[in-house]
Symmetry: none
Subunit: 290 residues, 2 copies
């Protein structure tokens, strides 16, 4: 399978060279693509009213040396197709810059919907609970591209509560913070594709100390998810398109909004204090937008 043709295409090309019974299988496969190919040989053979070995011979002619290999290829194809139907169906959309913005927004909207649709609600609620709990200390940590998101979340959390720290600089300097952590600490990690070993190490060490690890990641799930207490996964890209972190930001924003909504009574006092102080301090000399 060196070429990039899809299996269905390959099958269509090969079709005329097939024997009559093999064609039966081919037809069933194409008519119910790719689901039929994900069944067992026996099931597929039954559907095509053909024997097992015939199916196997067809598969072999397609260039696979085992039925398992064939199924794996089918699944891989399917995975790509399901992940971004929009990009898949008309890639031309993103080319014409006349309406680039519109189509781009449409795509991101779709990614956002997928993100929301796939996210278990307990995960979301769990994150909000942990971040809202005053007894906990919060530590944030991001990767190269996601550190801005960590910073963004940090700013918002600081408005709402105390004990929030954004870990910056070199990983070695975090050891100091790490040794003090315990079960009342929450480590928020942002880790998206091109996963970063450092994040995993830190998460593992933290988890060992009963620290609650919260992970913001993409749909392919950073390895950190194995030790994370809660994982929020955003759909960030299709295969051929450009990555976007907007859906991830949606999650961050939603968490912030949920925190605010849920704990409005508790935080409103604090908000006013912060406001007052900021007014007295800042006045022009420092950055102050909201």
């Amino acid at each position: 399978m060196s070429n990039s043709r899809s299996i269905a295409e390959e099958l269509r090309v090969l079709f005329e060279t097939l024997t009559p019974t093999e064609r039966k299988v081919g037809r069933v496969l194409l008519a119910n693509y790719p689901v039929a190919g994900l069944e067992t040989i026996a099931q597929l053979a039954l559907r095509a009213d053909v024997s097992g070995p015939t199916v196997l011979r067809l598969i072999s002619k397609l260039g696979f040396d085992s039925y398992t290999a064939f199924q794996t290829a089918l699944r891989d194809e399917l995975e790509i197709r399901l992940q971004s139907p929009l990009v898949r169906h008309d890639p031309a959309q993103l080319q014409g810059d006349s309406d680039f913005l519109v189509s781009y927004a449409a795509r991101i909207t779709q990614l956002m919907q997928e993100t929301v649709a796939h996210l278990p609600r307990v995960e979301f609620d769990g994150v909000v609970d942990l971040l809202g709990e005053r007894k906990n200390r919060i530590w944030l940590l991001g990767g190269r591209l996601t550190d801005p998101l960590a910073a963004y979340l940090c700013h918002h959390l600081k408005v709402v509560r105390a004990d929030v720290v954004h870990l910056r600089g070199v990983p070695s300097s975090w050891a100091d913070s790490l040794v003090d952590m315990g079960k009342h600490d929450v480590l928020v990690i942002f880790d998206i594709r091109r996963y970063w070993d450092g994040a995993l190490h830190i998460a593992e060490m933290a988890a060992q100390r009963k620290v609650s690890v919260l992970l913001f990641t993409d749909q392919w799930l950073s390895p950190v998810s194995r030790v994370a207490r809660f994982t929020l996964a955003a759909h960030t890209a299709g295969p051929s398109g450009w990555d976007t972190n907007t859906p991830l930001m949606l999650l961050v924003d939603a968490v912030i909004a949920a925190l605010n909504t849920r704990q409005w009574a508790a935080i409103s006092d604090r908000l006013q204090e912060v406001e007052a102080m900021r007014a007295r301090l800042g006045e022009g000399s420092h950055r102050a937008d909201e």
Copy 2:
């Protein structure tokens, strides 16, 4: 399986009753739905970093009395879904008003659409042109909450081109940079409500020196827009409720994507170089997600 809920929905409902390890499986399943479930138990278990029996227990909790039955159900579902590609995720999912996340996402989606609808194409194209022009030097500058966005844009621009600087620290230190600026400089400013006087001052000085000022702001337009050459305004809030910067991020992402698409030929070489260098440098010790 008498009811008509999809397996994914069923899983989401059940999620909170699951044990921690079972949830791992659930997450993998949902994140890669439904392909992950079409693999063998062993493969799925491996993906979720869990043992086979755990997978099986989850499946049993879902109401299936064999893994095979589960897979058959998945395939049936998939077959139906693939037949009507337009009915993507069951719309019922998006209607559940009780779900905070869903309604929040719906609202942001609307804000994003408004943003796109109101944004003049020339503005967008102008920004992309200016940022893509190699002769220009780019300077970025954000406010308290928007600085992460500036940082994010900065990272992406640096991948694509040279002469990109994110201005940090205290405003007074920027004077050095400012005196050198001229008509081949581009100053990108992020300024949203609670507009910041400092930003206006800097923008005015820059504009006087023929610097092109690009402004990312909210729908009420920062005063900087008066001196800005191009302004991209995002709708960041509804009448009641909490602000969100997600639509602003959409704009940033769209600009990046447009730049990449438009100049693919020109930048692909550069990309490879950057990749090679990063590979030689980073290797574990530094932050490295993408």
